[in-house]
Amino acid sequence: MKLTGRLKNVSQEKIVFTITLVMFAVFALTLDGFIGTSNLLALLRSVAVLGILGLGMLIVVLGRGIDLSMVANMAISVAWTIQLVGTGMPLWAALAIGLGFALGMSLITGILVAFAEIPAIFATLAMGTFIYGFGRAHLITGTDVVYLPSNFGWASQIGQGRLLGIPIPIILAAILAAVVYLFLRFSKHGWNTYNIGDNTQASRITGIAVRPTIVLQYMLSGTAAYLAGLITATAVQSMNTRMVNSNMIYDVILIVVLGGVSLSGGRGSVRNVMVGTLLIGVLVNGMTIMDIQYTIQNVIKSLILLLAIVADSVINPRDEQTGQQGDI
């Protein structure tokens, strides 16, 4: 009783951050080469894409939504971009069309959620399937892997290049984190995102343009998806549309929730996403160095997630005040 009283102010974010630090220390002491600069850069590099997707998801989740169509949107829009360049379209035009596609799809998603008032989980689930199906049937009709043509030019540096020795994906993730932070902290729409997530009805009564703001949230997550897709594709010189079938979208939700962002909206910040991303990065990197099989890695990953959630519910038990309607 006394213990929980003293730990009252320990949030899930702090618990996860502590776990991350402990693991970091253990790996640093026990694994050769873990602490080296190049390994730490590789660690960050490997979770940069996840982090960018997490930032997009954060904006939507703060507005009490969820975007399950992110991975499909990213795969198809970027695969189409690459295919267009391969068939001879100028790079800038192909990039613009790909971004336009990603934005167009997330616009439709936003309208479905905000104006048609379909619950986000269903609207985005259906949109994800639609984007993938439409893309495979009409855009990427050949092989489901689209290879990067040699005339992809400077854009291939997005995933492969380095600036001052730091891989560009890390820099892009950091920039995006700063932009999202500024957006949420200082812009009107950012504030309104929190308000809508906290209490949609009250936001509407106080005169916030709820529906357009929700549409904007989905379009921002669409932009993040496109950027993450460009990094993924240029890093491995191909876009594999098969990734839509993977559990990547759960990994994105995992880092968002793990860091302490509430799925019921209105609570969380960029810092939470960063903490969640770092935990996964340290964990996966350490386990790869230890040569632990991928399937076992998944088991350990989910055990750590459960540990974080259990710790949170012991320290911050749900009651009428903390529990919200729609809390999952």
């Binding site: 050769d32 080469g33 080296g36 190049s38 390994n39 590789a42 590099r45 490997s46 894409v49 495979r136 009709t141 050949g142 092989t143 489901d144 892997v145 290879y147 040699s150 492969q160 993924t232 890093a235 491995v236 010189q237 191909s238 594999n240 549309t241 098969r242 990734m243 079938n245 993977s246 996966v284 990197n285 790869t288 160095i289 040569d291 632990i292 099989q293 991928y294 399937t295």
Partner: protein
């Protein structure tokens, strides 16, 4: 010559002409062709690969489809899009619909084993492509992966073994651990390497046929072992990530990337740009031809698991030196044939 004799002669002439005429109206005299054509004509081939959207499956299906249409057969294709569940469902409904032949590809050794046995019992001919399941049916068509694994290991020894000026370190990137292609190749590799003191396997992990995962694994392995000598990756579609990690670490010259695949044009391009060093090519259109051969053999011999054959497809090694002479096929041609 009497009148009687003359009449006889005339009769014989008429008879011989009519015999000759009758012979002319017949087909060219190949008594074996008709039964063969009959065994094929009007039959239904159902194609159920794990996905109809990747280069290997498109090449196999494209070749079999073209040949089957030549002989007036019906060809249908189902695309489970990498979902084992959808594949099992597709197989179940196919067994109920009773096609004559099912050409399939096991996602792993177990998932379809029972269903394939059931199909055989229902008299359906079952051809397994590339990924062998736990049961033997009419035919398995694909390279001898265990042998290929051994050859790859020997190649690795050649590059990194005793007597070479290297660290003798190699890493292995598996696919889906239980998938036939990965499972048997790794078995062959370990067969050769387990008794070798000179080779050190620093990492052996599964990337689930995902290039991004392969990239992340190899990047970390290279951080730990920048002096790595070779990486063995079980499939070129995944090895593109492995090769990218090696290349982006600036180690393309010192780390040998060895992989295997169906020899599509994209693979040849990756050999040319130094992403891959050595590729075991099992020529997917050639496998399509082997599959068609297997279908003909099965249908002309009763099918339905009457005879069981392992048809090992030929392989050859591609490196930068011979890639320009190799037949690098365009996946798009077969994809459009399959549509």
């Amino acid at each position: 010559m009497t009148l009687k004799k003359l009449g006889k002669l005339a009769l014989m002439t008429v008879a011989s002409i009519s015999v000759a005429g009758g012979a002319l109206a017949q087909e060219p005299n190949d008594p074996f062709r008709d039964p063969a054509i009959e065994s094929l004509e009007g039959k239904w081939i159902a194609y159920l690969p794990i996905s109809a959207g990747f280069d290997l499956a498109q090449a196999w299906g494209g070749v079999v489809k073209e040949e089957s249409e030549r002989y007036g057969m019906k060809f249908t294709v189902q695309d489970p899009n990498w979902s084992t569940d959808a594949m099992a469902q597709g197989m179940t409904s196919l067994i109920a619909e009773q096609p004559d032949v099912i050409v399939t590809q096991n996602p792993d050794t177990q998932s379809l084993a029972r269903l394939m046995m059931q199909a055989n019992r229902a008299g359906i001919t079952v051809i397994q492509m590339n990924m062998q399941g736990a049961v033997q049916t009419d035919a398995y068509v694909g390279p001898d992966y265990i042998d290929m694994g051994r050859k790859i290991a020997e190649r690795a020894i050649e590059q990194c073994g005793e007597g070479t000026d290297t660290s003798h370190k190699i890493s292995i990137v598996q696919g889906v651990i239980t998938g036939g292609v990965s499972y048997f190749q790794v078995q062959g590799i370990m067969d050769v390497l387990k008794d070798r003191e000179d080779i050190e396997i620093v990492s052996s992990q599964a990337a689930d046929w995902d290039a991004s995962k392969a990239r992340a694994i190899t990047e970390t392995v290279l951080q730990q072992h920048p002096d790595l000598c070779a990486v063995l990756d079980m499939w070129d579609g995944q090895a593109i990530g492995t090769g990218a990690a090696v290349k982006q670490a600036g180690l393309a010259d010192s780390v040998t990337v060895i992989t295997s695949g169906g020899g599509a044009g994209s693979t040849c391009d990756l050999i040319r740009d130094d992403t891959f060093d050595i590729v075991y090519n099992y020529d997917a259109p050639g496998m399509g031809r082997d599959a068609w051969t297997a279908i003909m053999i099965a249908l002309q011999n009763g099918g339905g698991g009457n005879s069981k054959t392992q048809i090992f497809s030929p392989t050859h090694i591609m490196t930068k030196d011979n890639v320009d002479q190799a037949s690098c096929w365009d996946a798009e041609i077969y994809a459009s044939r399959l549509r």
